[in-house]
Symmetry: C2
Subunit: 210 residues, 2 copies
DNA sequence: GTCTATACTTGGATAGAC
DNA sequence: GTCTATCCAAGTATAGAC
């Protein structure tokens, strides 16, 4: 256990941070024990002392980062109670993620995952992510006839996958991203859907409720 | 130039094929000159003779595979003239891609891409992909009021990104994919949208036409 | 155009001193 | 818990015989 009030984060922590930075800047193919250790300013052997293997360091790094992201998403999603809110918050989270690079680190591990155990862990996190979107979507469409037509779980799955895809494409050249225009469009669609709702057949909006 | 009627594909071709297979089965981190050559049944030095470097072999492999995919998508998209068609064709292409593993190879190169030149080439292909979806979407919604609300380019971008994300997630555990249910839902949504169209304010369906 | 052999580099991982 | 030193495996790439 590290001392209280220490100036220097303990090595374990530094390695986890360094792993995220290396994943972000050099990708999965550049995430080696030597590079990560150099980035953390510690000896290469400590990767193996603390984590046993590079693969495990990357796994732990993934878990820590994605759990952080999930907590942020969960907190942000609590404020959603309209489609318009949902789009606005999604836009904000996307911008923040791009800035911090956290999602890049996550997608690098994700794309390269081969071992079933790692895949399992990743899917578990993706599932939580979908759950958050699902919950937000459910609240956002509670008063809309859309709720009856849409299977909310599937829609949340679609949205989550879309974000993942956008992240990967955006990283190839952030300057040329079309994501901002997509958010503008979704914002307009949300507004229209909300204005149109009263024009549609009533009663259907309760179809999904227990 | 290879002889006509040859039994054995020329080495260059075999290496390109082998690269796709290795990318599919072992991912980007397993795509080494030695493994690809072994898979092709040729000597490792031939990777460098024919392609100069592993990175270039992977690039050529990516270009060949993604161009093939694009041709398939383009051909399939020609048959679309309703949202329902679009969903059905998307489902079929998704199933085929999963079976052949071609998209997996593409996403592996994509996720690991670092050099600007490679990113450039990848984005160019992604752009073509978006273009095909855009064109299909435009035809599918030509008679629908949806066309007025939706910026077709942005919607196509969203759909393409979604497919990319789904591919990456599905590969983690194909058994547990939620994609089939998503297609079912989209199919229902398409049907509803088509039934609902006449109920909405008329005239708007022509708003996007020159 | 293909093979063998080899040079060189990098990376994962461990042993042992401190 | 950290470092030095080291081993071994695997990778890229090239030279040169065939």
């Amino acid at each position: 256990m590290p001392q209280v009030g220490e100036e220097k984060a303990d090595t374990r922590q530094r390695l986890l941070d360094a792993a995220v930075e290396v994943l972000r800047e050099e990708g999965i193919t550049g995430a080696t024990a030597r590079r990560i250790a150099a980035r953390a300013g510690v000896n290469q052997a400590l990767v193996f002392y603390h984590f046993g293997s590079v693969a495990n360091l990357l796994l732990q790094s993934f878990l820590r980062t994605s759990d952080g992201q999930i907590a942020r998403y969960r907190a942000a999603a609590e404020g959603v109670d309209s489609l318009h809110d949902l789009v606005g918050i999604a836009r904000r989270l996307h911008d923040e993620d791009l800035e911090s690079g956290a999602v890049t680190a996550v997608t690098q591990v994700m794309a390269a995952a081969r071992e079933p155990e790692l895949s399992e862990q990743i899917l578990e996190r993706f599932d939580q992510w979908i759950g958050i979107v699902e919950e937000a979507l459910r609240r956002a469409t509670a008063d809309s006839p859309l709720a009856a037509a849409m299977l909310v779980r599937e829609a949340a799955y679609a949205i989550s996958s879309m974000f993942l895809g956008i992240e990967i494409v955006t990283r190839l050249d952030p300057e040329r991203s079309e994501a901002p225009r997509l958010f503008d469009m979704m914002s307009n669609l949300a507004t229209m859907a909300e204005q149109l709702a009263p024009m549609l057949p009533p009663g259907t909006s309760d179809a999904h409720r227990g």
